[in-house]
């Protein structure tokens, strides 16, 4: 039997055990970093948010501190701000009235199935607990809110996040040490079963930036401004905006949006899911 040995020229030394060691260390390092990022994500994320949140709290404090100062310099600005705030309050109250009207409608439809508990939990402006918004879209690119929650509260992941006026925004995620994120239902990729009041059930798809999209048979009239509620809850999710029909298509595309501006929100209310 003849054995042919490989050329043992100096170039082969490159593949020796000593020279392989740094490459092995590099590969192990990369694998370690990737494993840590994937498996230690929750720990990293909550720690990083806790580390950064004093800066957001400082930003809120500076904004509140500067507000009266700038107002004393320019009364017109203050009046404008007060006007905007009052208009916001009026809009919230109007939405609350519309939401209560929905409850009354449903109550009349299914009076035998409606319990006192449903009424209590649907009144989102007086139950649950408040959380301050530390960061919001458009700073957050993923349609998420970063929240500061009272550590003594019994908030859990999956609890529902409401804006004033009983508008359902999304759900709690990544809860740890008084900090949490909330994923808005309008986030890209989110799909939820919903109901257009007076029209019928739909599958509502988040498009980002507080916008939604859905389809419905084109021969049905979907009025602009119609309220969209989450299936099984009397909470407003969105308002119908525009509808478009492509030629030859049997469905119409419906665009909807949150009835409030996320950028102007300072607080949200957390309501237990159950």
């Amino acid at each position: 039997m003849t054995i042919f040995l490989r050329d043992s020229s100096p170039r082969r030394i490159i593949g020796s055990r000593d020279s392989r060691r740094p490459r092995l260390a590099f590969a192990l390092g990369v694998i370690g970093v990737v494993a840590f990022l994937f498996f230690g994500r929750y720990f990293l994320s909550t720690s990083f948010v806790a580390l950064v949140s004093p800066l957001w709290t400082l930003e809120r404090a500076v904004q509140e501190m500067l507000a009266p100062l700038t107002a004393s310099w320019a009364n017109a600005v203050e009046l404008q701000r007060e006007n905007t705030r009052l208009l916001g309050e009026l809009r919230d109250k109007n939405l609350e009235i519309q939401r209560l009207a929905l409850i009354i409608d449903d109550y009349e439809e299914i009076s035998g199935l409606f319990t006192e508990k449903d009424l209590i939990y649907s009144n989102s402006d007086s139950t649950g607990h408040l959380a301050a918004i530390l960061a919001r879209p458009p700073v957050s690119p993923f349609d998420t809110l970063v929240l500061s929650i009272d550590e003594t509260s019994k908030a859990r992941e999956g609890d529902l996040v409401y804006a004033p006026g009983g508008i359902l925004l999304g759900e709690l995620e990544d809860l740890s040490g008084g900090r949490s994120k909330a994923v808005l239902y309008s986030a890209p990729g989110e799909v939820h079963n919903a109901f257009i009041k007076g029209v019928g059930p739909i599958e509502l798809r988040g498009q980002g930036g507080g916008n939604f999209e859905t389809t419905f048979p084109k021969n049905t009239d979907v009025p602009q401004g119609a309220l969209i509620t989450l299936e099984g809850r009397d909470s407003i999710l969105a308002k119908v905006g525009t509808t478009t029909v492509a030629e030859g298509d049997s469905f119409q595309k419906i665009y909807a949006a949150l009835p409030i501006s996320i950028q102007s929100l300072q607080w949200v209310r957390i309501i237990p899911r159950d």
Partner: protein
């Protein structure tokens, strides 16, 4: 050399403020600008990871939207911009 380091540090500070306080699309513009302005601007990758850790959440959503989307975009910028930077320099020279 010293002023280069100082300007890069200042840019990093601006970038950090962007991540925390300004709209994401402005942060993206700054990421592109700084990647063009400084060689091997690895900070953009760290920024991508930071954006994901601060704002993104793992959800069972199909398609492009995933829990490391910011990091993936940052890596793309980190890889593509130096290539564009070289080409643009050769065109201007």
């Amino acid at each position: 050399m010293g002023s280069n380091h100082t300007s890069r540090l200042a840019a990093d500070g601006v970038f950090l403020v962007c991540i925390l306080f300004v709209p994401w699309w402005l942060t993206l513009l700054f990421a592109l600008f700084f990647s063009f302005a400084f060689p091997a601007y690895v900070e953009v990758v760290f920024a991508g990871v930071a954006m994901d850790l601060l704002y993104n959440v793992p959800r069972a959503t199909p398609g492009l939207h995933n829990e490391w989307l910011g990091t993936e975009i940052a890596l793309l910028i980190f890889i593509i911009v130096p290539y564009l930077r070289k080409r643009i320099t050769s065109i201007t020279l």
